[in-house]
């Protein structure tokens, strides 16, 4: 499309003419001015009986909506056009596929990523490393939830409960008996798995949204118990001064232990990616996919539905338990406020925005949802607002997620090396 044609398409996307497009944008601006009027413009103080009027905000809304609606319509129209053209492989995905299909390129890319990951704490300061650690924690959590939601198709809104159990288990054991990090990491994993089984049993019969609300309720129950069972969990004030992991018995300073924590997290992430990748292509992984696609057909194929579902819950929860232990060791402080429903929602968004069932997608999702808001700190107060807006926008314009999962496709081609794989 030449420049003139592009401009024309942009201005009149989804409309007959410029005039129509202008009218539509104008109407949208007027409508939003009306909708946002009371909340944005008027602020009453019912005690002192004063009113603040913020008329200038109405102007911002009108301008933003008037110009924004052109972009909105253009993006929607482009999405429609794209739908007809291809099955929607984006440029980034195509690039990833090319890299993966060439052996040398693949090793070079892996090498670059590994070098970057190892050099990170040396190059950047403590603050950056800390942000990166929490991003890695979310990647692990996302990969764990990906097993339950992305592969097995069970909508779990209470995933954070397992995370909380791991964190509190380490915090309590460390406080009472001085148990170390390395001992608690596998214990946290086992506790997560057991809790996953316990939750799995009663909800085996539920499906879809009933499952979602029950898991949500379960997550809230755990959080409320943590908050109210003061004698054991110290209530809302939480447990502080949790020991950081020791490096073969040596105590490390703040910088040293943060760097150490970072490498532990990298190790855990590599382990997670390895396991999840192997699980995906295993017998149970295929059973999960079958379960996600169609429960009844899956049963008819002779797959034990109960075992498959329980395995999904237990294995998903395992990673959450481990991530919880790491979280407690990293922040040296846990309280129930870290384990609200929003945390579950954020982890779920990482999975869905990244692309369900895709490991690369989950990593991309975590980077977008965790790192971007961190670097938006300059807009501190607008951070969560933008976060919500990003979630809506990504879903509206890429409902299948950023990087969609691809199964191995066996195609007969003259050159078998170019078959897409993950």
């Amino acid at each position: 499309m030449d420049r003139q044609g592009f401009l024309q398409f942009f201005l009149s996307a989804g409309c007959d003419s410029f005039a129509h497009a202008l009218k539509k944008s104008f109407l949208a601006a007027v409508w939003f001015a009306f909708v946002t009027f009371p909340i944005m413009v008027i602020r009453v103080n019912t005690i002192e009986h004063t009113v603040d009027w913020h008329w200038q905000r109405l102007g911002y809304v009108v301008l933003a909506v008037f110009f924004g609606s052109f972009v909105w319509r253009w993006l929607l129209a482009r999405k429609e056009l794209k739908k007809d053209e291809s099955k929607g492989e984006s440029r980034a995905e195509a690039l990833l596929t090319t890299i993966q299909s060439h052996k040398i390129l693949k090793f070079v890319a892996l090498g670059v990523i590994a070098a970057l990951a190892l050099a990170f704490p040396e190059v950047f300061d403590l603050y950056q490393t800390n942000i990166m650690i929490s991003c890695l924690v979310y990647v692990v959590l996302g990969l764990g939830l990906n097993i339950v939601v992305g592969l097995a198709g069970l909508l779990d809104l209470g995933y954070v409960a397992f995370y909380a159990v791991g964190a509190y288990a380490y915090a309590l054991c460390n406080m009472h008996w001085g148990v170390g990090f390395w001992f608690m990491l596998p214990v946290g994993a086992v506790l997560g798995a057991i809790l996953g089984l316990l939750l799995g049993f009663p909800v085996l019969r539920l499906r879809g949204d009933y499952l979602a609300i029950v898991t949500l309720g379960f997550g809230e129950i755990i959080r409320l118990v943590l908050e109210n069972w003061g004698e054991v969990t110290m209530g809302p004030s939480g447990i502080s001064r949790i020991a950081r992991p020791e490096f073969f018995g040596a105590k490390l300073g703040v910088i040293g232990s943060t760097t150490y924590m970072y490498y532990i997290m990298i190790g855990l992430l590599v382990l997670t990616i390895f396991c999840v990748n192997r699980l995906q292509n295993s017998r149970i992984g295929r059973a999960w996919l079958a379960l996600r696609e169609d429960e009844i057909a899956c049963q008819a194929m002779g797959i034990d539905k109960m075992k498959t579902k329980l395995m999904a819950f237990a294995l998903g929860a395992t990673w959450a338990g481990m991530a919880g232990v790491v979280f407690a060791a990293k922040t040296t402080f846990v309280n129930p406020a870290s384990f609200t429903f929003w945390e579950s929602a954020i982890i779920l968004s990482i999975v869905v925005i990244g692309g369900m069932g895709s490991i690369r997608g989950v990593i991309a999702g975590a980077i977008i949802l965790i790192l971007v808001p961190e670097y938006l700190r300059d807009f501190a107060e607008f951070r969560m607002l933008l976060f919500g807006a990003i979630m809506v926008l990504v879903m509206v314009f890429r409902p299948q997620g950023l990087i969609s999962a691809k199964r191995k496709i066996y195609e007969y081609k003259a050159n078998p090396a170019s078959a897409g794989n993950e």
Binding site: V44, T46, H49, Y210, I221, F341, I353, F387, G388, M395
Partner: protein, 300 residues
């Protein structure tokens, strides 16, 4: 006995508010099978609009009952506008997308609206004027039933009856039922499905806004976060009764409200929400599709 009655009326009030909000969830779910997570935020926006209008009118010196009526009407209008806009912006472009996409979009919308209200208003708790005056004939009731509780109960009963009649007898109500049953077939017989969906969002949002103003005036304070817990509870109520069923939502709301009231009154007030969720898990284990829900026949 008096304590029992107090708890009973408290539970009924609480339950009817849950039911009012749950109706919006259940109607939307019935038609487009979407958990509208932003519905709790609509309730919150309704309450805020009510507060702003009531605050303005009090300063202008309007009489009490007029303030109540106008504040309620404004809350309904604006909440309906928000519901309509949210549907158009965040859900309509996602028709036909994978099931989880509109859910994430709804969660995003919910976060957006909370922070929008927090930034535009404040994050503090704001005092809400008592809009429902003390009735004279209620004096003898003591602490058992206050006039605002009576008002909430009356409004809920009226709304429920009205809504049931509306769904059953009007043209739009029939169109809604048809769309809920089979969207494609409804389209084939000439029902404007987009219009029906918009209407559903508008009605559901209006009910939530009424609930918002009533409960805010009853409790006496609001902040930007009230939508979350109310939304979760109402959603629990909708699922409890069988999501998609309108009498189910009412029943679910009442069961949930009464359970909470009696459990906090007789057992422990710390674990108020735990009882609600335990009840939900228990009922769903024995009736996986809710109290009034119909078991859907699954086909391959």
């Amino acid at each position: 006995m008096e304590y029992f009655l107090e708890l009973l009326f408290g539970g009924l009030t609480r339950g009817s508010i849950y039911a009012l909000i749950a109706l919006g969830y259940t109607m939307v779910y019935g038609i487009i099978e979407l958990i509208n997570f932003a519905h709790g935020e609509i309730y919150m926006i309704g309450a805020f609009t009510g507060l702003i209008v009531a605050g303005l009118l009090t300063m202008l010196g309007f009489p009490g009952i007029a303030i109540l009526a106008i504040a309620m009407a404004c809350a309904v209008v604006w909440a309906a506008a928000y519901g309509y806009t949210i549907e158009k912006v965040a859900y309509k472009p996602l028709r036909g997308a994978p099931r989880l996409s509109p859910l994430i979009s709804a969660i995003g919308m919910s976060i957006f609206l909370q922070n929008y209200v927090m930034l535009a208003q404040t994050s503090d708790f704001l005092p809400f004027p008592e809009l429902i005056p003390e009735f004279d004939f209620m004096k003898g009731m003591g602490s058992m039933l206050s006039s605002s509780e009576l008002a909430i109960l009356t409004v809920t009963v009226a709304v429920c009856v009205g809504l049931t009649l509306f769904i059953k007898y009007t043209k739009l109500g029939k169109a809604m039922r048809a769309t809920a049953q089979n969207r494609k077939m409804a389209m084939l017989v000439g029902i404007n499905v987009d219009m029906v969906i918009s209407a559903t969002f508008i009605i559901g949002s209006s009910l939530a806004a009424m609930g918002g103003v009533l409960i805010a005036s009853h409790i006496g304070q609001i902040n930007y976060f009230i939508g979350f817990i109310a939304g979760i509870k109402a959603f629990t109520a909708a699922v409890l009764g069988g999501i998609g069923s309108i009498p189910g939502a009412m029943l679910g709301g009442l069961v949930l409200g009464l359970t909470e009231a009696f459990a906090t009154g007789y057992v422990s007030s710390d674990y108020e929400d735990v009882f609600a969720f335990c009840l939900l898990v228990l009922i769903l284990i024995f009736r996986p599709s809710g109290i009034m829900g119909k078991e859907k026949i699954q086909k391959v």
